[in-house]
Symmetry: C2
């Protein structure tokens, strides 16, 4: 057995979900529940019926890589199509760092898998915590970069804070990192509620991670991409080929339909409406106002550890949330508002009731 | 950059393919060209349209794992659905071995990716070569097992020999390995031309690798599976989750349709016909008679290195083959007969002409 895997801690998100009983209100889930656009799925099936379900080239079909490249602002030779953005993250950490000599710095609060993938790959890993209320702060991150730090990982829009890194902060960070890699996770890119789309860092030394899952309600399709610097692409190709040959031909055709029809942001107005409902339901609670994604960090009005709060809340009020500690955001619960607005409203009512006994 | 990846040799198969020009006869490809059954693709789309394209559990949907378990003879809790059998191979090597202390022994001739995945994972790797004409020989393999050998990898039906391991040989091997892992690649399982289906080893300490790609003409769907010993499943779960979350929901529904309708072997008669045509066209050549898969090793009638022969053959006769050296089968060319029978016939005619000048 591989000892690196036996020592990996199990996921808190999964643990909470495993305790969920039928009828519980689920504000824990990290995926859209909107149905995907059926016409793109049908168009992709038609293509496959005409052309067969053959392998694509290892990095993906040229025309799909070109469409993704066009969408993210990179030439197609810098694009690798992956089995979801999760695989793109894995590929980014696998290829960009030398496990023997390099360290990766993870900006928290953040997605817990970043550190776990690093651990699994034997890469040394440190975290830098953004200060309350988790406002993006390039100078603070840069102050934690050391000589052997070869990569920094962050997400914008962020999971779990739902905050977006402003252009100026990204520029300061990117410049300050010099030739270090920035692994930039933008899987929530199209879900923003700010006047302008989220900023992207300068891409020369940046590994861009994205996909269809969150923005197009296609979590189960497993189609993502990695936009990598040119010098890393030969490594990405070999690793991707050996890990999984290529992304699904069917999923790639779905991606092409979505990108060609400019549908990546099609569900944003629906989420904007959900967000408006959420803000109403949050009245009376302390929280971090979401700028993107479909999460919200709600402050726990006591010093009780968030894991304990989440477990009690599930036990007593039958509401599933994720404890902030899972993301490096102790003192908060992460709620997801991707689901049914009534579930969100009732769930938050119960949360308020529960909190009133806590204080 | 990860130095383990920079030192990986590029694939000879890819190299030959890159030199292919339009109009060349391609006997190099490793995938079916038959169209897949459209009704299973449509049925899966209907399911997705009704139920959405949500994440499945990390190891796959229960009902699909049960159907695969039933097919391979394992309980469903030992099944992980993967992005193609390639990912199952990667997971097998990643979870079963401790890179610091263990060694894997690879039975050759074999699929070149086994050794490359091991190298990528930092696992020490040795090969044992079956003696000409590559007849499966358990005692020969066992004689090469050492103390630190913790796993043996073999495929049956085999790529490139197209030979099948007989039941008795598998039993001797499995018993002789004691508590060592056997990674058993049966991705070509349903393509056999022997009176009975290929034997399977006893499964207690065996990691079974399979999938839809080769048998159901769905290489581009990327749906495979790993059947792993119980004690490895927690590691498989964590690694799979961090690498790629889960296999595609759509692809899993396709698999369920195929397994429920008992279609895994549906294309075997078509291949049996292709094989009969092949044997006719092979008249006058020395070769290893294929028992399974859709490959055939053709003997080179001189001592010229197979890479040189393959390159000259491509240059002079415009026929793509794969040099045996890529698989540990120097002295042979691997031809694939999955394609159009006329291509195979004309390709072999040109091969004979080329060989007549070689001797």
């Amino acid at each position: 057995m591989n000892p690196r895997l036996t020592t990996l801690e199990p996921s808190l998100i999964r643990e909470l979900n495993a305790r969920k009983k039928p009828g519980d209100l689920d504000l824990g889930l990290g995926e859209p529940v909107l149905p995907p656009d059926p016409t793109v799925l049908e168009a992709a099936l038609e293509w496959v019926t005409r052309n067969g379900m053959r392998y694509s080239p290892n990095l993906g079909f040229d025309e799909v890589r070109a469409a993704v490249g066009n969408y993210v602002g990179l030439s197609q030779d810098r694009i690798c199509l992956t089995n979801g953005s999760q695989q793109a993250l894995y590929l980014a950490l696998l290829t960009a760092l030398d496990p023997e000599h390099h360290e990766v710095l993870i900006v928290e609060p953040g997605y817990p898998a970043y550190a776990k993938i690093a651990q699994m790959l034997g890469i040394q890993c440190r975290s830098v915590h953004l200060r309350h209320p988790f406002t993006p702060d390039a100078h603070h991150v840069l102050a934690h970069v050391q000589d052997k730090t070869r990569a920094v990982v962050l997400a914008s829009p962020n999971n779990p804070t739902a905050l977006i890194w402003p252009d100026q902060q990204l520029q300061i960070l990117r410049t300050g990192l010099e030739d270090r890699w920035l692994i930039f996770d933008e899987v929530y890119r199209e879900l923003y509620y700010t006047p302008t789309p989220p900023a992207r860092p300068e891409l020369d030394h940046t590994l861009l991670v994205g996909g269809l899952s969150k923005c197009a309600s296609l979590t189960g399709l497993r189609l993502g991409w990695l936009g990598a610097p040119k010098q890393l692409m030969p490594l990405v190709l070999r690793a991707h080929q050996l890990m999984t040959t290529a992304a699904s031909t069917y999923a790639q055709r779905v991606a092409l339909e979505i990108l060609q029809r400019n549908l990546m942001g099609a569900q944003r107005p629906l989420y904007a409406q959900k967000r408006a409902n959420l803000i109403e339901s949050l009245d009376g609670l302390q929280y971090i106002e979401p700028e993107g994604a479909f999460y919200c960090l709600v402050k726990i009005p006591s010093r009780t550890p968030s894991l304990e709060v989440a477990l009690q809340l599930l036990e007593q009020e039958r509401v599933v949330t994720v404890p902030g500690v899972a993301f490096g955001a102790e003192g908060y619960l992460r709620i997801s508002w991707a689901g049914d607005p009534d579930d969100v409203r009732f769930g938050l009512e119960r949360l308020q009731r529960f909190f009133s006994f806590l204080t």
